[in-house]
Subunit: 99 residues, 2 copies
């Protein structure tokens, strides 16, 4: 799980999903992340073969990201994790209300 050793990477994987997104589109969808942190996370994810990065030599330059097969295989597992968190956070909040 070391390839996921940050709170941002699972979120970035779930945001990209099965489509191609430009850097700015990813940044806009995770508005709380700074561009510097997002850049660093995406670079690490590229090194870990979770995403591919394609640069188009246009003006202004365009950079697009996609999940690799490895990244795509992670999507259903992250959905289970999300479901797990939703289920138990909900239960905990209900319990707190009762107590």
């Amino acid at each position: 799980m070391s390839a996921l050793g940050s709170k941002w990477k699972p979120i970035i994987v779930m945001v990209i999903k099965d489509r191609t997104l430009r850097f700015g589109e990813i940044a806009a969808r995770i508005s709380v992340i700074s561009r510097k942190v997002l850049t660093d996370q995406l670079r690490e994810m590229e090194e870990d073969h979770l995403v591919t990065r394609q640069e188009f030599k246009e003006l202004p330059p365009r950079v697009e990201y996609r999940l690799t097969e490895k990244g795509l295989a992670l999507l259903p597992i992250l959905s289970l994790l999300e479901e797990w968190e939703r289920e138990f956070d909900f239960t905990e909040k209900k319990l707190e209300e009762i107590i």
Copy 2:
């Protein structure tokens, strides 16, 4: 996934599994973790309702940990993550050998 925001917590969950383990037993099974870090991680996991901690007033004192229902529900998801990592690390290593 914030309850898992560390590389150690998934490992600790997988080590405890469906049994009751004493602090020293967990520490022995994850020999690379310091007792200080393990103590801190277990305390956070208790706050996040992933584990329960039971202290027995004996001499020497005995402290036992179990996964909660929330922690137990995480086990099958972590197994999938392990499988995912094994599968793709293997593929990457094979590719590197070929290239």
